[in-house]
Symmetry: C2
Subunit: 452 residues, 2 copies
């Protein structure tokens, strides 16, 4: 009864019925469940629905066909930690002093950084609305109190608290280490079983399941059933197992009659690293070209989000927090100002455009690129210098910042049109300066040239 | 009459008629003209026929529709000089001691390297068959005797003898400097006028026109008529002007009634550098991923090469020499053994497959990758180390050479399937060892680990 009382309190609903027939009536009034499935280093082009040929992803392809497939969905960082901070809070990690966190892959227990305690996560906000909450998988926002999932609104935690290449290799349930080192071959299987268990336990209450897989981040591991099965090698095996996992989650929702009452989202935290496909996009993980930050974005909510819709409207992970707040009944959320905007009306088909928003892409504390409408602006030379470090002088002579790319014609960021659209450049520079003005002093100092 | 006597001598033809009506009868028996148009640093995805949206290339698109469009055509080097050496000789530059030539962009007149005098170029071979020959554009195979175009079979030369970013900036006609520094805005226009003039002068004799443009290599220049016209910025303007130039050449052939009697080819020397699109391919100029070496390849010969044909069969610039020798009447050519194979029967539609050939891609003297049939093998770690120099240790732990990519499913070289196809890896390693065994000692030493 605990769950019922929680969501009914949120809804001020007088009906407290446990019997199965009544559940449907109650469901119609209670806020929708949310399942957010997050892949790690999965590329824009790694799914069938996004053009993959070597890898078969029938479950994700069907999920996309049953809902909305976004073709300009962004993670706002090309690396793990800031991506996850932004997804869960609707705010840029550069506001939190953790833009550069956890780049070492050997952790110490003196490493006490993490998602600040004054940030509100989706879990914190939904828990306050009576949701059951769980994080199953990779956290990577601080492995010590007060930065753990259970400190940030998640009632249940199971997973590797950081990346699967980091040491010590450990699997935790709540705050207890249950395996060390982690047997990674069965990790996706176990995350899936945990996810199904959580859904089953909470079938009668609104729930938020955050399912951030450790795969396909390196090192790559698939279970016996999926090993050597894909035409995409071990990377393909791993992605096909993730696809199977998505299918299991969706089948569970269907089996429990929760299908129409659950918003399921799928995305990746950044582009592909050594293996994996960015599709036609330039760059990979670690870069702020779109290959590092544009990711698959699928939203499925039968009956509410129209099936078969495909949209090139820009949206980003920072919009997830306010969107979910709106879709679960109340646009409000945390106490701190959000960078994201609610796309609820867009998802529900009430408006055809996504909310206008300026998306910033940082490399550590330095702003590199930004997307606004059809435009992508490159404000710093960092990207290109990473690209061919040996030719920095020539690059500086050749491509002068800012560069401007028209994403409506040139998804590969191949043709700099800054000289052709000086008004667009000035408008973007003005918007960037205005936006950066709201960031902490450390970030304003690092980007002082962009604030002029 | 000089030209007539030359080609009639080649054909053993008794008809020596200058009158226009007779020209057609004579044409039917004389070998076809050859026009080879070569762009500099143009990417696989920069033409409309290859997926470009920001850049409009109606003339090249029509040329492709009128002939054969190759979607797996390779330059065998990701940089200028070795690419051009291979195209003109049918042999790898690594055989000639110039694999690493001209990487400095300031030349001195003590720099006496160049295409060795014992190499036979297409021009030398066709000149011996009675062809008029010209090189109009960028040479980059040695700017001093005995390495100039006029030393290598070209009776006429007009152009910048090297890249347009190199110093001293000079335009030459034959061996005379006619402009210094070069006014690059009108360079493509002037190359086009020179090409048309050469065709007009040689309308009554077989001719070989090699037209290697300096564009779109940086710095980028377009004429007033093309500036600010393209949605692809200055890079797009430059490519659209090249497309116009192709249209002018084709219109000239049509006007002179030479259309059906001229093989016209279009390609690029390597992938795009800072701007320009590699399409879905990984990497850019300087890399031996396909983005650095796979280029547009279009062949037009009305009535002989079937219009509208598109083929994914692998072919490369080293095959051009023997193919043109066969199409102009005699499979033979130079005295040195060729790396290329004749694709004449394939072009003429007599067979559906291109000749089986192993294509090697070197970075300087080091073999990096090779393409054979559906497979691309990466034998060295160089590529990835260039990609993210800072993470070399982790890369070496993660992606171990050799890597194997299935180009029939994975054009982006994203999914290493070496572990899934050990037989293919061994077969390729054996073929590579056998092939490298025929290279000079310097190359065998540099690649000793691949010869075991």
């Amino acid at each position: 009864m605990r769950r019922h009382s929680r969501w009914s309190a949120w809804l001020f609903c007088p009906l407290l019925l446990c019997a199965a027939p009544a559940r449907t009536a109650a469901q119609a009034q209670r806020p929708p469940n949310v399942v957010f499935i997050y892949a790690d280093d999965l590329g824009y082009g790694d799914l069938g629905a996004y053009g993959a040929r070597a890898i078969k992803t029938p479950n994700l392809d069907r999920m996309a066909a049953d809902g909305l497939r976004l073709t300009s969905f962004y993670s706002v960082s090309p690396v793990c930690t800031p991506s996850r901070a932004a997804l869960l809070t609707g705010r840029y990690a550069a506001r939190m002093g953790i833009a550069n966190m956890h780049l070492s892959n050997v952790l110490t227990f003196q490493d006490t950084t993490g998602l600040p305690t004054d940030e509100t996560t989706i879990a914190t906000a939904l828990k306050a609305r009576g949701y059951a909450t769980a994080c199953i998988g990779k956290w990577h926002l601080g492995h010590l109190a007060p930065h753990r999932p259970i400190d940030h609104g998640f009632e249940y935690y199971y997973g590797i608290p950081y990346s699967n290449d980091m040491q010590p290799s450990m699997l935790k349930r709540m705050d207890e280490v249950i395996e060390q080192p982690v047997q990674q071959e069965t990790l996706t299987q176990r995350y899936t079983a945990e996810a199904i268990g959580f859904i089953e336990r909470n079938r009668n209450t609104p729930f938020f399941l955050y399912l951030p897989h450790n795969m396909p981040h390196i090192p790559l591991f698939a279970s016996e059933r999926f090993k050597n099965r894909s035409a995409g090698g071990i990377y393909g095996d791993v992605v096909e197992e993730l696809d199977w996992s998505v299918g299991q989650v969706l089948a569970t929702l269907e089996r429990l009659g929760l299908d129409d009452h659950t918003i399921v989202c799928f995305a990746s935290d950044n582009g592909p690293w050594y293996e994996g496909s960015p599709g036609q996009l330039r760059g990979r993980k670690g870069w702020t070209y779109d290959g590092g930050v544009r990711v698959p974005g699928i939203v499925r909510w039968p009956g509410r989000v129209r099936a078969g819709r495909v949209s090139d409207e820009p949206l980003a992970t920072i919009d997830v927090f306010p969107t979910l707040m709106a879709l679960t009944g109340d646009p409000g959320g945390g106490a701190l100002p959000l960078d994201g905007r609610s796309a609820a009306d867009f998802l529900l088909g009430k408006v055809s455009s996504s909310p206008e928003n300026l998306y910033l892409f940082f490399d550590k504390e330095f702003l590199q690129t930004a997307r606004f409408g059809r435009w992508k602006i490159h404000v710093a030379r960092w990207n290109v210098q990473r690209y061919q470090a040996g030719a920095a002088n020539q690059i500086n002579q050749t491509l002068k910042a800012p560069e401007l790319y028209d994403m409506s014609l040139d998804v590969g960021e191949n043709y700099n049109v800054a000289a052709n659209h000086p008004d667009a450049v000035r408008d973007l520079q003005r918007r960037i300066a205005e936006k950066l003005g709201s960031f902490p002093e450390e970030i304003r100092k690092a980007n002082a040239d962009l604030l002029k």
